[in-house]
Symmetry: C2
Subunit: 285 residues, 2 copies
Amino acid sequence: MSRHEEPSYVPDFVPGEVLTTLGVSKVVESGHQDYKLGDLVWGMTGCEEYTLITNLESHFKINHPELPLSYYTGVLGMPGLTAYAGFFDVAKPKKGDYVVVSAASGVVGQLAGQLAKISGCYVVGSAGSDEKVNLLKTKFGFDDAFNYKKEQDLNATLKRCFPEGIDIYFENVGGAMLDAVLLNMRLHGRVSVCGMISQYNLEQLEGVRNLFCIVAKRIRMEGFIVMDHYSNYRKFEEEMAGYLKEGKINYVEDVTEGIESFPTALIGLFYGRNVGKQLVAVARE
Amino acid sequence: MSRHEEPSYVPDFVPGEVLTTLGVSKVVESGHQDYKLGDLVWGMTGCEEYTLITNLESHFKINHPELPLSYYTGVLGMPGLTAYAGFFDVAKPKKGDYVVVSAASGVVGQLAGQLAKISGCYVVGSAGSDEKVNLLKTKFGFDDAFNYKKEQDLNATLKRCFPEGIDIYFENVGGAMLDAVLLNMRLHGRVSVCGMISQYNLEQLEGVRNLFCIVAKRIRMEGFIVMDHYSNYRKFEEEMAGYLKEGKINYVEDVTEGIESFPTALIGLFYGRNVGKQLVAVARE
């Protein structure tokens, strides 16, 4: 149980046990008729060189081994499906929609923004450093981006970025950003709630004051979890593999070598040291 | 513009002009080919004995004059359609759902709760006096009800009323009630946001702190306004007229006589003096 007295959707880590992470694995021994030696799969695995996979309901065989296998921890795996489900199934975009993505330089945010561009939307991202803002505008094709740490008044920032208002908010942070977005939403706006990371480590949660906008503007705000969308995985995998091959989606990775680099790579995440998806290469094909 | 710097969905009152209200009218003169002398209509009219109706897009002819005509200002009119649209179209109930309604003794709340009972749901209402709580349990068939002014801890109250959690919240008040409901929602719960009356006259809006529940529980929170649902009016009118004739829906009115009683009746609303829908009878059939 988390300190909010509510169960989370991921079991709490028990000290002494092997950490779990998203990984790509090759079958070296199998007791299951559907899996044979040499099959490639992705899913939640132990952070170890050899791992026992029993949770097959959250593993998928890899259908596009011609693409980098590492992509299956990111753009072709759970983070990719998260962006896809949250943007298409929850936010239900229309061509020409005005879209804002928070924590936009994270893998999910990057992809949500690029899927919005592919869908003919206007997309602005928020991120926490000038380097990330620059990456959003150059590498990931966002129409605009801003460093929220440098903005005095997020309401004014959003009014500047969206003079006609916002149709879709792909929400990763919560708190003050959500409050400012609500004031700038258009009629029938949608808030697709992927996470509220600004609130997770606060002793005292921030209050969101502008929820009255939900009535006057008929806003739909909806949370989602990728596991509920696994039935769409094959459709997503084909579509995303196509975008990658056509160069319509850009994706970057930061790779460290060897299982012994895992602790450093993990801790680096909390300091924002990585720019692309952080990977640890344990073995290579 | 309201003090929240956002346009409301009803134009601000201009001192010196005639007040508007929901009314039932009989046509005494008509310049429109679809309306003839003696036709009965309901919609937004001036608070006066004779009124000029030009906003025909928000007026409807009355199809069931065999029921009390006054019902068309309430259970068969805009408040009724509000409850119907917010409960069926927005909250999308399933048989057996656990439902909580705030401001439940108001006309919309009463009807939302009774529609929930007709749909096979378990319904609890909150209200602001013991008299109202009693009315909910006796007259309107709620399974349970509580006086929120007497509860120390709304979270504990809801845990007591809903040991298995809440599927649907028909939201009329916002603030602390919404925060407590979010903590008690079940997976895939729905918050149908009809209003947030607790916030409308505050100098400093209350913050809602438990929005992180929206992700973990995949909650959908959606605002609505009855005008968006006028296309369903005829379907609603037939269904509700049927429930009234079968005695499946109870409805109470407080009637004062004469246009001169209007100011007293209006001011009484702010003190909660009325129990049923407050009406002013200007002329009778």
